[in-house]
């Protein structure tokens, strides 16, 4: 079952440290070419661990537009 929310890192503020990716229980985050974190929407379960981990506090959980 798809979660109601998913994580969205802010590409402009991300420092590409990878702290979020290291904690994600679903391995849903990766650092795109060393520039910023990107999320795999289908893998993310919206648990919010990354949001609480991010030292730049640049991840928000947003509602999924259309239920999958």
């Amino acid at each position: 079952m798809a979660s109601k929310r998913y994580a969205l890192p802010d590409r402009k503020r991300c420092v590409s440290c990878g702290a979020c990716a290291g904690e994600c229980p679903r391995n849903a985050l990766s650092i795109w070419r060393g520039c910023y974190a990107v999320v795999d929407k289908t893998a993310c379960v919206g648990c919010g661990i990354c949001q609480r981990t991010c030292p730049a506090n640049c991840i928000v959980l947003i509602p999924r537009e259309d239920p999958q």
């Binding site: 420092v15 590409s16 290291g22 060393g34 981990t53």
Partner: protein, 195 residues
């Protein structure tokens, strides 16, 4: 599920590094791995593989609060991860590194003699003479060791302070190596830091 891609034992590295340098300052040179490897991976690989998988310091900051509950876990002030502060801190770090090189050169050229002390947070001079017996290596190589070890230890202390005050890996927001490698990766990918 995986955690830290199986590299989580690397948190031992910074502890080992500071221990080794406590007994023999020449081990400070090994810290150059932490400067060169991230840059090599960024320049040639176009990635932050160092920060993301290999950095012992980042892993130590992530691990300590899990074991010891020593971080408040609060979001750091926003300016700490802003480009202005990050570049400012990088400039400061580069200036400090240049001053180490300058001191090393002065000792090399005979303009100044070896000072066997570690300077903490660029302010407090701590005697460290037990960690070096004069004449083991050329004086300039020893001078670089004392200077570079001071830089590594001071930045680790700063990192521990912001780890305790804010989120565990707050240091990574303005870590000079993190900033430099991100700038390189962004340049390679065709984005600047503000886009």
């Amino acid at each position: 599920m995986k955690r830290n891609h199986g590299y989580s034992y690397l948190w031992i590295w910074p502890i080992l590094y500071f221990l080794l340098g406590f007994f023999n300052i020449l081990f400070a040179w090994l810290g150059m791995i932490d400067v060169l490897l991230p840059l090599i991976l960024a320049v040639f690989g176009g990635n932050k593989g160092f920060c993301n998988h290999l950095c012992g310091r980042g892993q130590l900051f992530a691990l300590l609060p899990k074991k010891l509950k020593c971080s408040r876990g609060l979001p750091a002030p926003r300016w700490m991860s802003s480009p202005g502060f990050r570049f400012g801190f990088l400039a400061f770090f580069l200036a400090m590194f240049s001053s180490i090189m300058y001191q090393t050169w002065r000792v090399f050229s005979g303009a100044s003699s070896l000072r066997e002390a570690v300077k903490l947070l660029w302010t407090f001079s701590v005697p460290w003479h037990w960690a070096y017996s004069a004449g083991t290596v050329p004086d300039w190589a020893a001078q670089f060791s004392f200077g570079f070890y001071s830089l590594m230890l001071s930045s680790a202390l700063l990192g521990l302070i912001v780890m305790a005050l804010y989120r565990p890996r707050t240091w990574c927001c303005f870590c000079p190596m993190g900033t430099m490698t991100q700038v390189i990766c962004r340049a390679k990918a065709g984005h600047d830091l503000k886009s």
